[in-house]
Subunit: 272 residues, 4 copies
């Protein structure tokens, strides 16, 4: 791997990757992948910090005449922001990558499990729910943008099964993934709220008996095809994130309980 | 990696791993992992061959005074059995590993996706179902044994949810894993049949509307907790595999539709 | 899940998803995911069939005023092409999906492990190598296109480590992924050949001692940064696939032996 | 899923799983799996807390005549220990599971990524290293035991390749997994230290040029087969954990740079 020139006096090891390259091909992204680092993410409502384990990727654009990148600098920049990195500093980190790598563009991506407290519907017992989240930050000399992706699980209940059966209806765990590109602030909680509202029913960490009765009947009262879930989620994004996203990508996967394969839908749209 | 002495005349490269070792520690298993190879598995009913992609592990026991194993021999033995390896030759391959590596014991393990044709319950449409399977073979000078593991998916419907709710009942995809150790013949199909019989309902590749009505109502008529599924599966093994296994390990995981975590049970028992 | 209207006389179950939808949102892709099915892929050189296990996704575009798709039709179309599906029929399958789902566009995607025989460099021992492959086919009324993606493993040896060290040089397993979009024929073997030629050294299934000496020295003689590997692979695509691709995406990941993270590069370009 | 009887006055939903079971089969482990929860782990040296994301499994033994377990109680017990669970309370949590589920035995298992600061060998730059860890706790009425598993990555360099080649030697990323069962205290750091000492060379987060020279030459000076790594690690456990473990299981996997498969070894032994 390409490691940096030593700052230590007296060393004079040669720097093979600082030369010019004559293949004349730019590389869109060069960098490091699979860097685990503790991060702190601010909760929208309480403003307290949620501790998470980040899985980082850091990249810089490489111009056609530059032979190589300095890989150790990416990790050094990450470490220079403390032992727990705040999401608030992601833009600054990405800008530092761009500057120190002398690049026209830099990208940071981090994936982590986020936690949010949630009340059960009847007995109001609080429990933590976990959500898979990906945050990306891209900067050029004059622009920056974020991409926020949240994967939310819930229940889907099949309208067809309900309609044709004398009793019961098959239902299953579903994953709704919303991804928005923005230069504004979009909270993880904003995307969770939109996704959970469009399931046949939300899922919870702890359910007591009266809660379980409620979720069973609520799902039965709200049957949705994968097509309904994705369209209703899109309408949720359009109505509730107005003015705060440039483009949106949604995926819904139902882990069918009557098959061992999934029903799936995806759509992308720009802010109107 | 340790590769074999050349058979090619004139070569005389040194053989660093054939010496004696003075740490005096036996190694239970030394070998190779992650070898992909095409295999052919015989269908119990039609006796035709099912083509699968095997993911192999091959190991030999290493005696305390042996410095090392010859890794290339494992792969050579595998390749010497043709371009598509039959499951029927697994025991022979394992014996060859033991002999050529001059070891007291050898083990072969292969994981693959197996296919079986299945009819939908009402419209009788045939479709392929896939099952995750692991086969292991262990040989010593005087003994051999097999371990057959089959992971079967199906539907579980919650008795509690059905009981307490005015209508509906939550249900979800479940995985039943049965693993038996035997010196006899246990067919993959035998374990699938036992597992599928104990689900709230089986799953299918293709379901037309009358089938979907049938599976919905059938699951509702057969509610089962994870505890019921594992106990009923155990009774299936005891009753239907009589005399053909030494020990049995069962796991059941329900991918709950009302939570984003699983309900889970496991048990192990010897042939009575 | 949405299953099809019965063809069986006398059934008259209602068809909840054939109605009109008034949310007025098209869905880019609706369909099924995670369908395992045996496939046969033709070898470029021998023209013999390689048996593989396909993991399928099948999607149709859904117009804004269509309420839903008929999920069982996707699987029925797949099954109507025999018990082992030939890659040669992927375009026809995708067209059938488009026609039967009455859609403006359909997509098929399949991922599988492909096998190819390969000779070791000195002792000329033949062994099977496995490659991860993804094939996609997209059709509209008047157009069709393919995307072929091949992931090839090899060795990368670090030029910087070689240059600054008195002896040795760190090296590691690397993955080169080439993805081309085309309406022409691009063989899996074409992409493997391009990728393997640009590694510090190729990897092999079986290596005897003289082979191991050769690959060790060959890698040491051909040090490459991740930036070199991706640029040289791009030049390979440009020179060797001339006229047969519309756009190309390449990724290289080095699973560094001196870190527990990866060095990574990616680039995309259109046919000039 | 089986959820608990309501504590809320006035509810009287039936409790289907509290009855007696007449299949007369004990279940070794019944419970929940895939529960994500924030945890805090104490660093051996600084005694400060490391924030990690735990992936929990919680199980209780189910006696033959007990119909079912109460799944919501597992999650409630977890939540009753605060918003971030300390590893110090794992034994207490497991005992509570045993008591509240009225079981003869209970098990807790948690997997997480742990962080530790580490200095590069020459330039002494500090960076975080991540380690995959699993902790298990098992309690009966009179006994308790822990299992600590740590997966540590490092570099292995092949002695055979070094010996037979005129220059260079293939090397690669390797994973050493040490698992010890104990009723005593074994720190995660203890197992990391043992594993890292037996690699051809340790890996680091940040390496400057003089560090990269050092690790390259150090690995070349310390060639080890997978057999050497596992035996030397075993001797490390025997010498350095004396008196503090009952049994030990070790696995070593070398992600070979000259193949796309792994060399692998495993061994188990009891405290002498």
């Amino acid at each position: 791997m390409l490691n940096d020139l030593p700052d230590i006096a007296g060393q004079s090891l040669s720097d093979t990757q600082s030369g010019r390259d004559d293949r004349r091909l730019a590389i869109d992204k060069v960098g490091v992948k699979g860097i685990k680092f503790p991060i702190a993410v601010r909760d929208k409502n309480t403003h307290s910090l949620v501790h998470c384990t980040g899985d980082f990727e850091l990249f810089a654009h490489l111009a056609p005449d530059n032979k190589g990148s300095h890989m150790s600098r990416f990790i050094e920049i990450l470490h220079s922001h403390g032992k727990i990195i705040s999401v608030d500093s992601f833009k600054e980190i990405t800008q530092e990558v761009r500057n120190r790598l002398d690049s026209e563009r830099a990208d940071l991506k981090v994936a982590f499990t986020y936690f949010r407290e949630k009340e059960s519907p009847v007995s109001k017992i609080k429990s933590l729910m976990d959500y898979e989240v990906e945050l990306e930050c891209s900067v050029t000399e004059t622009t920056h943008s974020y991409q926020v992706t949240v994967h939310t699980y819930g229940t889907s209940l099949c309208p067809c099964s309900k309609e044709i059966s004398d009793y019961g209806a098959h239902n299953q765990r579903s994953k709704v993934s919303i991804s928005v590109t923005t230069s504004d602030t979009v909270w993880i909680e904003d995307l969770i709220d939109i996704a959970e509202a469009q399931m046949s029913c939300q899922v919870f960490g702890i359910l007591k008996r009266p809660d379980e009765k409620w979720v069973t009947e609520h799902a039965y009262d709200n049957p949705k095809f994968v097509e309904d879930m994705i369209r209703d989620t899109a309408i949720g994004v359009i109505n509730q994130l107005d003015g705060r996203y440039k483009c949106c990508h949604i995926e819904v996967e139902n882990y069918e309980s009557i098959h061992n394969h999934s029903a799936y839908a995806q759509m992308s749209f720009d802010h109107p």
